[in-house]
Structures are given as structure tokens and as C-alpha cells.
Subunit: 372 residues, 2 copies
């Protein structure tokens, strides 16, 4: 992936203490280039993680070769890898292909790139939004991959890989903050299996080619840019969950009437991560007791006796106890591809959303046989 | 369950913020009786959780009826329930049976009780040890149940239910501390699915009928008592994991060469909870990369490049990278019913153990159809 001009980059990397070589190299390059980059080299099939000094050399070799071919400083090349952990990466398998890849670069190449970065994913994920800034059109385009080991916790420092590009002219510090906050509202709010990868990486590149005034944080344009960014990231994040290993359904867990967004988020996260909730969704079982119990494990206080739980608009739990509802109708709601579970805490006005998928036999089959 | 004499009781209850009525009532009774009790009423099938004021009344009715029949103060009756959450408990279904249960109480009744408390368990769990204290024989007997929603985090306050009895004469504060610490080394070190129940309860009753000197903490007898207690609890905890929903295998995750027990425990816990590790065990896949990645998510620092990982005695990861090993032989080791995974951190001398089971299709089947 190549930007026609050097771009401001916001880079977010995994919170896993075990970090893959491409993560370490990319973090270093961004530090040295003051967050300027022009190219990203991605490979799927080998995570280049737990590969020691050889893995670091392989990563550096890929970056160096790409820099030479593109005639840009090596620190302006970023890396991302996804695939099996602990297998040495033969850099020549990438460096030998780089000349042909550079020759064939094309503005219409996005669909092919989006497909090339997949592993256990079944389909590519691309999303975009356009916005008007000072009379000019700007675009945000994003690609992502990831179906298993999906529980991104990206920190301003999965294998979720997310690549976002914009031609908008964005004030550098706002770009960083917008990327981190939008990620907190999207990729950091999804889970397939609760396993945070060693390779999770998100890059947002802004090359300013749209021209016009610089977009700052506290402006109408800044608000529009941020909203569009969140929309692109949420669309991609949702697409990851929908394509989660073995997943048939996506459930949005929406916690409302909370004291704070933090409280709401912790409870939504705990519900979304619970295997018992996820298997109940798989079985279309309106088992609200598991939802309440999972909320109780969130590590934040709340008043169980004030909690109402809804499946879509149907109340299944009222003030912490059973509501009167039609079990068959509730089960039918849980047979849909898209499920909304609302948990009303009865304490305030804050809310948070989190997306998860059902937990199926297919997940077990894929992961008992597939080598991550 | 009835003690022929009033007993000192150590009670440990779930850390879930949603607590079942029997948990709330038992905590209160222990507070009011200064940790003295003589009877425990247990029911399976209904957790009496998320049942509001009616649930509290039902719990109190059961305790009151048992107290009247046994002619003991109501605060000396403890309760435990396991089963479906959110369904009103009809107390008369228990109170009507209590007269017959009291009439038929018998010292040899343990196997029948151990069977009566089961839910999705496939077999009862009983363990015992005897020890010599000041020339007299004392016994510790324990029963436990629990196959799903098993990730006990009991605090000195699952649906893991554990009932332990001893006729040893134990100094009250030591009894509390010994129960909490032994629980930390056993029940609090197991997971089936990472879901902590609203009903987890452990009672250790010591009625002193063995006679002899009081067993204090800093004595040879205290050490022997504690070791026997840990042995009984670990045997029961291991039996729970072995009978975990859908489980075919038990894996002991042993983290060694740690800076502290806390660090070792956090890493062992993270590995044991990882669905990707648990499915790899199900598939007999020696995928050490998932083990290392899970360790990286433990929230504690360590040096990945110093980590060695063994499956039994076979080293599969050396200094954070691939070790040379025979994949087929390693896979064969993972086909056994009992698996030992050792993670050597290369940092110190502390260690911790955690027990988990494999994650199979059968777990999904049970929980997509069973109503917890």
C-alpha cells in the first residue's frame, strides 16, 4: 500500500506483551519519522512473531527492499504480518516479489489487497466515507482483516489488521487522537474469542492530497472527519465480527442508563466475552440469567435489582428478575442474523456498545485443526 | 448436611456482583453467628438467583424450616443453590421434603448427597484425607459439584459448590485463613469456561469431635492440617475440571521460574482461559505460539525472549522461538487425558499451577441447548 505523497500516520498496536517483529519495527519507524510514512508492506500466512533476531532481520529486510524500490527513507515504510506464530519468516519470499508488486501498483488495487491480507476470513472487508471540507471532497477508505484471535486492544503505541487512508488534510495531533478514539469506539469494542493477538495493527494515513484548510479538532470539519472515521471503522469492525470464525450471528450488546461510559463499556465487554452468553445466542436461548451473571463479572459495581434486559424491544428481565415474556417469540428474535441485547442499568444516562458473535461448533472445528 | 455438634465454619462466596439469595442469606447467617453453623441445605435445579424479594423469602423459609426441625438457631443454617438463574424458587418443594430428609439423616449418606447436588456434572466428586493430631485421628471430607459456569473466584466472603467437613479441633482464625488460602490454590485455580457463577459457595465446617489439642497456624499440626486441606480441595477441583462440560482432557498449566507467585499465577490463568489454547488442546495441536500469545495477554510483564515452553518433558519453545521437536510425538502427548504444559519464564524461582480442560463441540452443544 503506497501513498502518492508522504502521509501523516496514526499507528495503533496490540496491547499484548508479546509483540511480533513487524509491530516492533513499525513502532520504531513511526518514532524515528515523527509519524510520517508512505508505504505499508503486509503479508498473510506468517505472523513473524516469536521468531527472535531472525524475525527482526526478516522484517527489516522487507522494509529496506521496499524503501529502495520506492525511493523513500526506510523509516517511512511500515509493516504488518498475520498468520502462524513461531515459524521463521523467509524474507526472500517477500523481497523477491516486491519489484513486481511495485511495478503493478494501481489506484484500483484496493479489492485485491483487501483479499490478499486474509487468513481464516471468508471475505474481504472494505469501507469508505466521503466528506466535504472547505468546499473540497475528501475520502476515508479502510480495509481490515481478522476472523480469529480477535479481541483487539489497541493502544496508542489482532490479528486484527486495519488500514485506513484519507486524502484529507488533518492536523497531526488531531489525527492521532481521532484514530485512538475512533478505534476505542470500533475495533476495541469487538470480540470473536477474547484472545488478543500479538500482531494487531492499525494504520491511518493522511496524505493531504484533497487540499484545502487543515482540519483541526475543535471545528465543524473536525467533527465531520471524526464521525466519518468512526463510521468507517465501525463498519469494518462489524464486518470482522460477522466473519468471525464459525459465526452465524452478530450481537450488539448495548448497555444504557449507566453512571459513566466506562461502567457501561466494562459491562458490555463482560457480556460480549462470556462463552455462556455466546453459546446461548448460538442456541437462540433467551437465557437472560447468563447475561445478568456475565454483567456481574465485569468488575464494576451496579445495582442488579435495577437492571432491565431487552432482546430488541422485548423485555426479558425486569428489575433484576424474570419479566413476563413469550419464550418462543424471544427465541425467534435470537434466530436472526442481527441481534440487539440492551441492558438498562437504571443509574444514569451514559451508554456503550460492544459487538460479539455466537459461539458455534464451527469455531471449535476451525481452531482444533487450524494452526494460528 | 448436618454436623452432630455446632461447628466453626469458614465460608467463601462468589466474587460475582450478582449474588444469589442463598449466598446473601448464608453470608448474613455467618456474620450473625460468629461463623458457627450446624447444617447446610443445598438444592440443585434452581439457582434462586435474580429472583428478587420472593427469592430471599424462599431462602429464609428453607432455613427456618430446617432450623425448627433440627432444633438449632436459624442463623446456624447455611444455604447453597445451583441451577437455572431467574426462575422463582417454590420453597415448599424443599420445606415439604425437609422432615423426611431430617429423619433419614445418616453418617453414610455422603455418596447420595454428592450425587444429589449435581447439575450438568456426569459424576459425583468426593475426596478425603486423614491426619494424626496429638495422637488422635482427624478426617477432612469434601464434596463438590460444577461442570459449567466454572471459573470460581471465591473471596473471604462458583456454580461451584464445595462442602468440606472436618472433625479436627481448629483455631477459628486459622480455619478461615486455611480455607481461603487452600481455596486460592485449588478452586480459584480452575476454569472450564471463564464464567464466574452467581452462586459459588464453599463451606468448611470443623466440629472438633476428634478431640485433642486445638490446631493453630504455626504448628506442625497446623501444617499437616493445611496440607491435607489443600490435597482434598485440589482433588475436588481437579475432578470438577475433568468433568467440565464437554471436556475430554485436563491440562495443568504450570508457570515456573517466575519473579513472584502472582506473576506466575496471572500468566497460568491467562493461558488456561484462552479459547485458542483450549481448542488447540482439543485438536492435539502443539501450537505453542498460542500459549505464548495468551501469556502476553496476562497483563503482567515478562521477557518473551527468555520463555521456554514444554509439553510434559518435550521442549516446544526455546527462548521465545521455535524449539526443534517432533510434531507427531508432541501431538501424541496432547492426545492423552492428562496434559502438562510448563512455561519457564527464566526470571526467578516462584511458580503457580492452574487447571483447565479442552474446549470441544460438546461444550457448545450442551450450552446452546441447556438452560443454566
Amino acid at each position: 500500500m503506497y501513498s502518492v505523497a508522504p502521509a501523516q500516520v496514526a499507528g495503533l498496536f496490540t496491547a499484548n506483551r508479546v509483540k511480533a517483529a513487524p509491530v516492533v519495527v513499525s513502532e520504531r519507524h513511526l518514532r524515528r519519522s515523527s509519524n510520517i510514512a508512505q508505504a505499508i508492506i503486509v503479508n498473510a500466512g506468517n505472523a513473524n512473531c516469536a521468531t527472535g533476531a531472525q524475525g527482526m532481520q526478516a522484517a527489516r529486510a522487507c522494509a529496506a527492499r521496499a524503501a529502495a524500490l520506492l525511493k523513500i527513507p526506510v523509516r517511512q515504510v511500515l509493516l504488518a504480518s498475520t498468520g502462524v506464530i513461531g515459524v521463521p519468516l523467509d524474507a526472500t519470499r517477500i523481497t523477491n516479489l516486491l519489484p513486481a508488486l511495485v511495478r503493478r501498483m494501481h489506484p484500483e488495487g484496493v479489492p485485491r489487497v483487501a483479499r490478499a491480507i486474509l487468513t481464516t476470513d471468508t471475505r474481504p472487508k472494505v469501507a469508505s466515507r466521503t466528506l466535504q471540507v472547505s468546499g473540497r471532497k475528501a475520502t476515508i477508505l479502510g480495509m481490515a482483516k481478522g476472523a480469529g484471535m480477535i479481541y483487539p486492544r489497541l493502544i496508542p503505541s489482532a490479528t486484527m489488521l486495519g488500514f485506513l487512508f484519507t486524502d484529507a488534510v488533518v492536523e497531526p495531533r488531531f489525527l492521532q487522537r481521532a484514530a485512538a478514539r475512533a478505534c476505542d469506539l470500533s475495533f476495541n469494542r469487538i470480540s470473536v474469542d477474547g484472545d488478543t493477538s500479538t500482531n494487531d495493527t492499525l494504520f491511518l494515513m493522511a496524505n493531504g492530497m484533497a487540499g484545502g484548510w487543515v482540519i483541526g479538532e475543535k471545528s465543524t470539519a473536525g467533527k465531520a472527519f471524526f464521525d466519518a472515521l468512526v463510521a468507517v471503522m465501525q463498519e469494518l469492525a462489524l464486518a470482522l465480527v460477522r466473519d468471525g470464525e464459525g459465526a452465524n450471528k452478530v450481537a450488539e450488546i448495548r448497555v444504557e442508563q449507566a453512571r459513566s461510559e466506562k461502567q457501561a463499556e466494562a459491562i458490555a465487554r463482560a457480556i460480549a466475552l462470556s462463552p455462556l452468553v455466546k453459546t446461548a445466542i448460538a442456541g437462540a436461548d433467551p437465557n437472560w440469567g447468563r447475561i445478568l451473571s456475565a454483567a456481574g463479572n465485569a468488575g464494576v459495581s451496579f445495582e442488579p435489582n435495577r437492571v432491565d434486559i431487552y432482546i430488541h424491544r422485548m423485555r426479558v428481565c425486569r428489575q433484576g428478575g424474570a419479566a413476563e415474556f413469550d419464550e418462543t417469540a424471544a427465541s425467534k428474535l435470537l434466530q436472526a442474523k442481527d441481534i440487539l441485547i440492551r441492558v438498562m442499568l437504571g443509574q444514569g444516562t451514559a451508554q456503550a456498545r460492544f459487538w460479539t458473535c455466537d459461539f458455534t461448533n464451527e469455531y471449535i472445528r476451525i481452531n482444533a485443526s487450524y494452526r494460528t
